[in-house]
């Protein structure tokens, strides 16, 4: 015994530590669910913005949609122009909502809420994933509103349950994907002012470099190349096939979902890496 040099304490027991892959998955699910639950609760507490967000898509459909349906300037195959653009407008509204998700996280960082999350045993991936799921759920209200608007405006919407479920899944995946992208940006720029600038800078190019309101075939070659790397294009394709009678996806639905899923997973892993940097 050397009382002058205290012996380091043996590691505290690791009773709470997940052992094995299964336990790790269970912990991941529990922690994500905890985050998801509080985010959804906050959302339900203040549902006004769920409806104010429907205004912009309404304008797009009413003004842009009706004008271009009349001019018939855009070749849209078997679909009328409004049928062609309705899924695009839904995808756009998902993008525009999700892309500003990061600003809320920066706000939470300024309040110290993020510090506490990051000092907890929940893995960073589970925190990011829980937030992404909440952002995904957020977009479902937009899907409901825009599908109803589309019906009113004469779009022949597919009403079989599988298609409706497909629309909801696609929209949630898109919302989760772009909100996680937004979180990545938040972790890089770190301040609200810079984020607003970047967010505004990104949304329009993402929107216009996609097939949301005109077909890929109409684009100049360089833009088409860009659009083919834009996840929004795959969301629009999937929604066009799922939402509208006679609509089809050029790559096929499984391919669209696979692309969205892979990009989403990549963003989650990237955001989980960058998230701790937000509080440094």
């Amino acid at each position: 015994m050397t009382p002058s040099a205290p012996v380091a304490l043996p590691p505290a027991s690791v009773e709470g530590e997940p052992r094995g892959a299964l336990a790790a998955c269970a912990a991941f699910a529990r922690h994500s669910a905890a985050i998801l639950a509080v985010e959804v609760r906050k959302m339900l507490r203040d549902p006004t913005d769920l409806f104010t967000r429907a205004v912009q898509p309404l304008l797009w459909l009413l003004v842009f949609g009706q004008v271009f349906t009349r001019t018939r300037a855009i070749p849209t195959g078997p679909l009328s122009y409004i049928e062609f653009m309705a899924p695009g407008v839904l995808a756009q509204s998902v993008l525009f909502t999700a892309i500003f998700y990061g600003i809320g996280v920066i706000w939470e960082r300024d309040l110290g809420v993020v510090h506490k999350l990051l000092a907890s045993p929940a893995s960073r991936t589970s925190l990011v994933f829980g937030k992404a799921m909440a952002a995904g759920i957020r977009t479902v209200s937009q899907a409901v509103i825009i599908v109803l608007l589309a019906v009113i405006m004469g779009v022949r919407v597919r009403f079989d349950p599988m298609s409706l479920i497909g629309v909801v899944c696609a929209v949630m995946l898109g919302g989760a994907l772009f909100s996680t992208f937004s979180l990545v940006i938040a972790c890089i720029v770190k301040t609200r002012d810079r984020f607003m600038g970047i967010g505004q800078l990104l949304t329009m190019p993402l929107f216009f470099a996609s097939n949301a309101i005109y077909p890929l075939e109409m684009m100049p070659r360089w833009l088409r190349a860009v659009a083919q790397y834009n996840p929004l294009t795959y969301l629009v394709e999937a929604l066009r096939a799922l939402m509208v009678q006679g609509g089809a996806s050029s790559a096929g639905l499984p391919a669209d979902f696979a692309v969205l899923m892979l990009v989403f997973i990549a963003f989650v892993l990237l955001a989980a890496r960058l998230f701790p940097g937000l509080v440094r």
């Binding site: 304490l9 043996p10 027991s13 912990a27 639950a37 509080v38 906050k42 309040l111 809420v113 000092a119």
Partner: protein, 274 residues
């Protein structure tokens, strides 16, 4: 059983080894060597900008050290950060409960993220709310709480999962004397029941004296004085107060460093709470 209870109280639960943090050219924490024995309440004092919060942010794994390292509950804060996080609780200097949730929901979130067993979540939350005098406000939004209520809620949150080590950054700032005492009681009770070790920063000399077993006074990122409150006073003479000890160790002048950032943050937090 937790391993800590079977170990002699002399063994350190926190040990920093030349722990250093720079911000650009500023040396915020300068090769700090510190040990905290199991079951003690250790007070970290020092003027604004001395580096207290930076030490806590490194020990809670939120901020990587520039050099050096530390062990918390037996795990290295750099190599084993995820394990460290399973054994700590943290009350940040900022008021950081989620204002858009109720007190109960904040506690439930903590319980779930910190893996409190499901069956124990509710009883522990109820007990914590009652102990902190928040049962009446349990189901109102934290946005409407006073600053002192938020602070008490945060202490309740941080002790819910019975961590091995609890880090508290100015936990009683802005509390009225009764609320302050409630927090002290809670901390003492937690130590007694669960052999918790605590590192607490404070500018309140009474708190340092009443609550802490051991004190370190930091100045410009280094330890300027270390010992029990009684020993520190004893070194200065029979009638010395802790204030005297502090003034001597902290150099007696207003520190140039820091302060501003935290002041801004504290202000904006106050604004948030109306």
């Amino acid at each position: 059983m937790r391993a800590t209870t079977s170990v002699t109280t002399d063994a350190p639960v926190v040990r920093t080894i030349a722990l250093t943090r720079r911000f650009g050219s500023l040396l915020a924490v300068d090769a700090l060597d510190l040990t905290i024995a199991a079951g003690t309440i250790f007070g970290l004092l020092g003027s604004n900008g001395a580096g207290k919060t930076t030490v806590i942010r490194m020990l809670t794994t939120l901020l990587p050290p520039t050099s050096g390292t530390a062990e918390v509950a037996g795990y290295d804060i750099v190599r084993d950060a995820a394990r460290v996080r399973r054994h700590i609780g943290y009350v940040p200097q900022l008021l950081s409960a989620d204002g858009a949730l109720t007190g109960y929901e904040n506690l439930l979130l903590s319980a779930r993220l910190y893996d409190v067993p499901r069956a124990e979540q509710k009883p522990r939350i109820t007990e914590a709310l009652a102990f902190m005098g928040l049962d009446a406000a349990a189901h109102t939004l934290v946005r409407t709480y006073s600053g002192g209520m938020v602070r008490r809620l945060e202490v309740a949150q941080a002790t819910l999962h019975h961590p091995t080590v609890l880090f508290l950054d100015e936990p009683t700032i802005g509390l009225d004397p009764i609320a302050r005492r409630a927090v002290w009681e809670r901390l003492k009770q937690s130590r007694q029941q669960f052999a918790m070790t605590m590192l607490i920063t404070t500018h309140d000399m009474e708190e340092a004296e009443v609550l802490c077993d051991s004190l370190a006074i930091m100045h410009s990122g280094r330890i300027a004085a270390l010992g029990t409150p009684a020993a520190l006073k004893g070194q200065l003479g029979p009638h010395a107060t802790l204030d005297d000890v502090f003034v001597k160790a902290a150099g007696g002048s207003i520190d140039q460093g820091g302060g501003y950032r935290d002041t801004v943050r504290t202000r904006s937090t106050t604004a948030r709470l109306g």
